[in-house]
């Protein structure tokens, strides 16, 4: 008797559980980003407030980029409802048809640079590629422009550039040739490659990750490098003898997409609308050096004025930098990267 009732209650519990699962799933979305301190900042700035406001649960995961999305979509096993990517990856993935269309009646796009607003992807934040140098080697007379970085006689020392992000290295190579910041795009790829060729012999390391760039500068393995501003800011905060500025920086955007086949598309759309809203965008620079994609964030009054000057996407700083064009790299990336690899790998 007891055993039978036991089985009954088990069956009942099973029924309840199976009934509860779809209801739960509808209220839970999974968001993937790059991990590390950046994602921790996003959790505080975007994910937590959105989950609270919409009454949903946001689960988090980490991504390696476009390959992961491609694998999930082409393999018919989409586990993410929203994922972050680099803007040129978004442009490429869009061409491959990997993302769901975004509904701009739900998402308010005002305040976001039109270059980062597309049918199936939208900008979320900015990273800048900046020139960093060690002040214990150069004092305050270090290389300030990419032309200085390329000038090995006036600024002797060990150098590092990105080997994995050909787009960024080609952009700074164009700047080194003296091309003004508003003329860099569309990049003259062969010209930029010639420019890389000039400095190639003096590059002691081609970094392949942000952490590596940071380590090279921090340990004094190199005296100057191209580096992402978030990493540069961390080095400075840690007390490393370094200096950098946003002059001639290369502003690269990150974007968010809903992978094609997401099971919670509608809720994901609402959540994404929250992520790009000025209110939540203004939270991001409170935790990390990556600037908000939505300009209106600077008008919310949430960001302290003394903080604004350190943010790469603040209007004052944007003027000093090149905005990397995702649409340009969508069509040229493969060819440019192969040529770049041919040049630097030996």
């Amino acid at each position: 008797m007891t055993r039978i009732s036991c089985i009954h209650s088990l069956a009942l519990a099973g029924l309840l559980a199976s009934a509860a699962v779809p209801a739960m799933a509808a209220d839970t979305i999974t968001v993937a980003s790059w991990g590390g301190t950046y994602q921790e900042a996003q959790t505080k700035a975007f994910f937590k407030p959105t989950a609270d406001a919409l009454g949903i649960t946001i689960k988090e995961d980490t991504t390696n980029g476009l390959d992961d999305v491609r694998l999930q979509v082409t393999g018919n096993a989409v586990k993410w409802d929203i994922t972050e990517l680099g803007a040129d990856e978004c442009a490429r993935g869009s061409k491959e048809g990997l993302f769901e269309k975004l509904d701009y009646s739900v998402i308010d796009k005002s305040g976001i640079n039109p270059k980062l607003v597309h049918d199936d992807w939208v900008g979320i934040s900015y990273t800048s590629v900046v020139l960093i140098y060690r002040t214990d080697v150069f004092g305050d007379k270090g290389p300030k422009t990419w032309a200085d970085f390329w000038n090995v006689e006036k600024f002797p020392g060990r150098r590092a550039l990105s080997g994995s992000q050909a787009t960024e290295t080609l952009s700074v190579a164009a700047l080194a040739e003296g091309i003004p910041i508003d003329k860099v795009y569309p990049v003259d790829i062969d010209g930029a490659l010639k420019s890389v060729d000039k400095v190639k012999g003096h590059i002691d390391a081609w970094w392949t990750s942000g952490a590596q760039a940071m380590q090279l500068v921090k340990d004094g393995e190199v005296d100057m490098a191209s580096i992402w501003n978030g990493r540069a800011g961390t080095l400075k905060k840690e007390g490393a003898p370094v200096a950098f500025s946003f002059d001639q920086g290369v502003l690269t955007a990150d974007c968010m997409v809903i992978p094609k086949g997401s099971k919670n598309k509608d809720i994901a759309m609402k959540a994404l609308a929250k992520f790009v809203s000025p209110e939540l965008q203004a939270n991001l620079p409170l935790y990390v050096d990556n600037g908000p994609a939505n300009e209106k964030a600077f008008e919310t009054g949430k960001i302290p004025p003394e903080r604004i000057k350190d943010i790469n996407s603040a209007p004052e700083n944007v003027k000093k930098q090149v905005l990397q064009d995702p649409a340009f790299w969508r069509d040229t990336l493969v060819e440019a990267t192969e040529k770049f690899n041919n040049l630097v790998q030996q």
Binding site: D204, T208, Q212, E221, N341, N342, Q345
Partner: protein
């Protein structure tokens, strides 16, 4: 053969018996095959099918059409050939360094008393259990421009300028040798332990000097172990990723790193798959070559015994 033997016995009973025996043998081999089938099925589903699929994928280009574009790329872009040469150069140097360091080490271990040998062996195996990533970063800390090695050497006045030990070819070789060493030492040590000391004593007894005993008896007998160690190290090197990625400073690009780059660069899996197929084919060809070269040597050693 068998049936002929039975027929020799003559008589109808013999033939009947032969048939029954043959049926029995057939039943037994089917039974064995049935017993093997879970294993065969596993090998088929987890090895043969995915590799076949990989090969199949490599034949499709970005538009999804059948083409050889993924293979043609290796000849159009010089960097792929360079990567290929680098990969073999690294594998060759690392294997060489492992033999130079590992052979004396394994010899010493095999000559030590059992207890001392097992303690020393722990020092060989211990790093083996530590994450490759951790060990690679440790080497970076030691070898870089302002690392331990350079600062000590400069403080001691041995050198005035830091030696370029990290973020280049030398760094990759040092880091990888450390990781690969146990793969050479362990099989070599095992084979050295099986060498019969009576053979060595006999050699000495017949008037051979210790050096001659080593050269003419011990060394040839240790060759099969050395051969298997060399093959393991060389093949593992060909597919190595972490250490060259971190220690090479972006200047030493190996095949596996190229696979990673290619997979994320191209929208079709075929581009990366083709690199995998090439590496697999080359590795298999090499294994065949080793088998042919070293196998003959090894059997030569065993038959002369």
């Amino acid at each position: 053969m068998q049936s002929a033997r039975f027929e020799d016995l003559g008589g109808p009973h013999g033939t009947l018996n032969a048939d029954a025996l043959r049926a029995d043998a057939r039943r037994e081999s089917f039974g064995l095959l049935a017993l093997l089938s879970p294993g065969l099925l596993l090998v088929f589903t987890v090895i043969i099918v995915p590799i076949g699929w990989l090969f199949w994928l490599s034949l499709y280009d970005e538009t999804g059409a059948l083409s050889a574009a993924n293979y043609a790329r290796f000849f159009e872009q010089a960097s792929y050939i360079r990567t290929f040469i680098t990969t073999f150069k690294v594998a060759f140097f690392v294997t060489g360094a492992c033999v130079l360091l590992g052979y004396p080490l394994a010899y010493m271990l095999s000559q030590l008393p059992r207890r001392a040998a097992s303690i020393c062996l722990i020092f060989v195996i211990l790093p083996f259990w530590t994450s490759v990533l951790v060990r690679t970063y440790a080497w970076l800390v030691i070898l870089q421009r302002k690392g331990l090695a350079n600062s000590w050497l400069i403080d001691l006045g041995v050198i005035s300028q830091p030696l370029p030990l990290a973020n280049n070819f030398a760094g990759v070789i040092i880091g990888m040798t450390h990781i690969m060493l146990p793969f050479l030492v362990l099989p070599l040590y095992a084979s050295m332990k099986t060498i019969d000391t009576d053979c060595l004593r006999a050699g000495m007894n017949l008037g051979a000097s210790p050096a001659a005993t080593f050269r003419q008896i011990f060394f040839p007998l240790s060759l099969p172990g050395l051969a298997s160690g060399v093959v393991i190290v060389f093949v593992l090197c060909l597919g190595f990723f972490v250490t060259p990625a971190l220690m090479g400073g972006g200047k030493v690009i190996m095949w596996a790193m190229r696979m990673e780059q290619t997979t994320s660069l191209y929208s079709n899996w075929g581009a990366g798959a083709a690199l995998g197929v090439v590496l697999l084919a080359v590795t298999l060809a090499l294994l065949g070559l080793f088998q042919w070269l070293l196998g003959a040597r090894a059997t030569g050693v065993w038959s002369s015994r």
